[in-house]
């Protein structure tokens, strides 16, 4: 199986999630070995995901947990009491 760049781009997400079947995976990897453009696309997409998985990208406001439990306690009291 020989793939051109456009086809490889369609499988970037599946590749990162390790969901490609064996034949497709081999074809994609073969292409990536020789194609700097696609390697850069893969690399930059992966960087986006690394950044997304960084806990500091989405942080909780200070005091969030306390306020949440306070409000919950008040709501629960209102219902049971």
């Amino acid at each position: 199986m020989k793939l051109d760049c456009k086809h490889v781009w369609e499988h970037i997400s599946g590749y990162l999630d390790r969901q490609l079947d064996a034949a497709l995976l081999e074809a994609v990897e073969k292409h990536l070995e020789n194609c700097e453009v696609c390697s850069a696309v893969l690399d930059s997409t992966r960087n986006v995901l690394v950044l997304t998985a960084d806990d500091r990208t989405y942080e909780l406001p200070v005091g969030y947990s306390e306020r949440l439990h306070d409000r919950l306690r008040a709501a629960m009291r209102g219902e049971t009491g």
Partner: protein, 208 residues
């Protein structure tokens, strides 16, 4: 077990039940609304609603998925409320655009960027903004799969769509974000750092 006791009257235990999911609920709503105050209020409403409807939780779903479904509905409700009609129709146009061109930004002169460049605070801000700018249906899938790290089946269940659609939308969301972020990723790459050990935690999925 815990849920059974709460339903039997030990309502105080509900605080313990939700503690592991506080972050999940807030971040889900925040990533959709991009407003801290709204997200916090929405997270509180989600937990109250979960308490009120705990009886209807069925053990065959994961508690986290059930909670995320409530959070997602809360976020959607708030999004509709705060939106003008013009914005709604704009979104609809994008949504109809199923056969669109979802190609990544092509880079020339790309070198592997040093891991420390990803440490930049501005980059995280750019990412949050880009996520917030995704059309809603792509953003929802991206939030659940790549921020909350739910699996495909859980994401499909939480959104009421099938797994194939989850895959398609996730792919497009990632490509759109790649496109949006590349200019910043690129300019952050003045040199190649070699032999840097990957840190634990935030590389858990992508460099494993």
């Amino acid at each position: 077990m815990l849920i059974g006791r709460i339903l039997a009257g030990e309502t105080e235990l509900f605080h313990e039940l939700i503690r592991p999911y506080e972050r999940l609920v807030y971040v889900t709503i925040f990533a959709i609304l991009k407003n801290e105050t709204e997200a916090e209020d929405g997270a509180q409403e989600t937990m109250i609603s979960a308490f009120r409807h705990l009886k209807s939780f069925r053990g065959d779903a994961k508690f986290s998925t059930w909670l995320v479904t409530i959070a997602m509905n809360e976020a959607r409700k708030r999004l509709r409320k705060g939106k003008t009609a013009a914005e709604d129709s704009l979104d609809a146009t994008v949504e109809d655009h199923e056969g669109g061109d979802y190609t990544p930004a092509v880079l020339t002169d790309w070198r592997e960027i040093p891991l420390e460049a990803l440490e930049k605070k501005e980059l995280r801000e750019k990412l949050r903004a880009a996520v917030a700018n995704l059309p809603e249906k792509y953003r929802e899938v991206f939030v659940l799969r790549d921020i909350e790290e739910l699996n495909q089946e859980e994401t499909a269940a939480a959104l009421g769509i099938n797994v194939t659609l989850v895959k398609v939308r996730l792919h497009r969301a990632r490509i759109m974000l790649q496109k949006a972020l590349v200019p910043y990723l690129k300019s952050e790459a003045p040199y190649v750092a070699e032999g840097k050990p990957a840190r634990g935690g935030f590389f858990r999925r992508w460099f494993a």
